[in-house]
């Protein structure tokens, strides 16, 4: 499901117009982005946790060309699903079968 389908489905469920739903989604994501940049982790019950992880500067070697690269430190957004989300997806899948 892509972004458009997602916002469309939200609009349908809550009775918003597609435009409003898209705008609200954008606004929400903007807030999440701001919080993440401030170094906060987003922890949503029953869904999961978004966290910014620090990856240290390191050197990688391309095994084929033997070229060595110095990779700069990076801040990477990671997502850890909550147990509830994991369990749900598993149960639903097995229920489907």
């Amino acid at each position: 499901m892509n972004h458009k389908e997602l916002t469309g489905e939200i609009a349908r469920r809550l009775g918003y117009s597609d435009k409003d739903a898209a705008q609200l989604t954008g606004s929400m994501i903007a807030i999440m982005g701001e919080q993440l940049q401030e170094g906060k982790s987003l922890s949503f019950t029953d869904f999961g946790t978004f966290k910014v992880e620090k990856k240290l500067e390191h050197i990688t070697v391309n095994p084929l060309t033997k070229q060595r690269f110095l990779v700069p430190p990076q801040l990477i957004l990671t997502f850890k699903p909550a147990d509830a989300l994991k369990g749900m997806s598993e149960n639903t899948i097995s229920a489907h079968e």
């Binding site: 499901m1 903007a30 919080q35 993440l36 982790s41 949503f44 070697v61 391309n62 997806s89 639903t92």
Partner: protein
């Protein structure tokens, strides 16, 4: 320190910004995440613009592509999240101006472990969902201070590199030594063995010196044991330099010399010495056919009469 931003705060901020009721905002946020959950289960794929892509992956598929899907599938499902480019860049803002640098071979950082990157590793990274506590705001500063320090001080020669420098000369030295031994051995063998690979002129010089030293009588015509004496004698007679062609037939007119066969000698060798032509050994064989039973197997010590050959007109 490691502040958590909860669903509740998100709802509050959202309602504040969009001038909507708290309840509406909460309904919206709850629906949003619930919908992601549901579609993730059904579609196994949800893309949220600006945030990222959620995928439901059967981890076993990576390991075993053609695994039986009906068995134990639920145990291997994993949710992967790939941040959107815009979100990734926003999060990585403090380090965005750094770029991956191709290192020279000589550059070596002592404090940074090297790792081999591969598709598998990257895939594994994508899958990794372990979370460390991080303190971006502080670590940024620390890292930015650390980076220039690295470049300034810890640039050292790679030990592997200097090892490569050493290894090349060793190969060279070894091959040069081997070649020298081979060439030297070849020369020694050529000198010491009975075979003649050295020009006659050189041997003549050598033998003349030897004869002077020994004060031996070179006048004797019969060359019995010392083969080195022969060329000298022939040179005195000015016979040897004539190289006889095997394109002409020859008559045998008397005996030129006699020769006691030694180990390693053959009729062909004698023919080459006396006539300058190996192919004329047949005349030797014919002339000595009474002494020789088998021209290919002559006992050592056999007296060979060397015929004098005159071209047949």
């Amino acid at each position: 320190m490691n502040d958590q931003f909860t669903l509740h705060e998100l709802i509050g901020l959202l309602s504040q910004r969009n001038q909507m009721k708290q309840a509406d905002a909460e309904a919206f946020v709850q629906t949003f995440f619930a919908l992601i959950k549901e579609t993730l289960v059904i579609d196994k794929y949800v893309k949220v613009k600006g945030l990222g892509t959620f995928k439901l992956i059967d981890a076993r598929e990576r390991i075993e592509a053609n695994a039986d899907e009906s068995v134990g599938m639920q145990a291997h499902l994993q949710i992967s999240f790939t941040p959107d480019a815009s979100m990734r860049d926003a999060v990585n803002k403090p380090f965005n101006h750094f770029e991956t640098i191709l290192l020279n071979e000589a550059t070596h950082y002592d404090d940074i472990p090297e790792e081999v990157s591969s598709q598998a590793c990257q895939a594994a990274d994508d899958m990794t969902e372990s979370v460390k506590t991080d303190v971006p705001a502080r670590e940024e500063i620390a890292a930015e201070e650390k980076q220039p320090a690295n470049e300034g001080t810890i640039l050292k020669d790679n030990p592997h590199r200097s090892g490569a420098y050493l290894r090349l000369p060793w190969c060279l030295i070894a091959s040069v030594l081997l070649a020298g031994i081979l060439i030297g051995g070849g020369i020694a063998w050529g000198l010491l063995s009975g075979r003649r690979y050295i020009p006659e002129s050189v041997i003549q010089i050598l033998t003349e010196e030897k004869e002077e030293a020994e004060h031996t009588d070179t006048a004797s015509v019969v060359v019995s044991s010392d083969t080195f004496r022969l060329p000298a004698k022939d040179k005195n007679k000015a016979v040897l330099p004539i190289v006889l062609s095997d394109a002409v037939r020859y008559d045998i007119q008397g005996t030129l010399a006699t020769h006691t066969l030694r180990r390693g000698e053959s009729l062909a060798r004698l023919a080459e010495r006396y006539y300058g032509n190996r192919n004329l050994w047949t005349y030797l064989a014919r002339y000595n056919r009474n002494n020789i039973k088998d021209a290919n197997d002559i006992p050592v010590g056999t007296l060979i009469h060397i015929p004098k050959l005159v071209p047949k007109e």
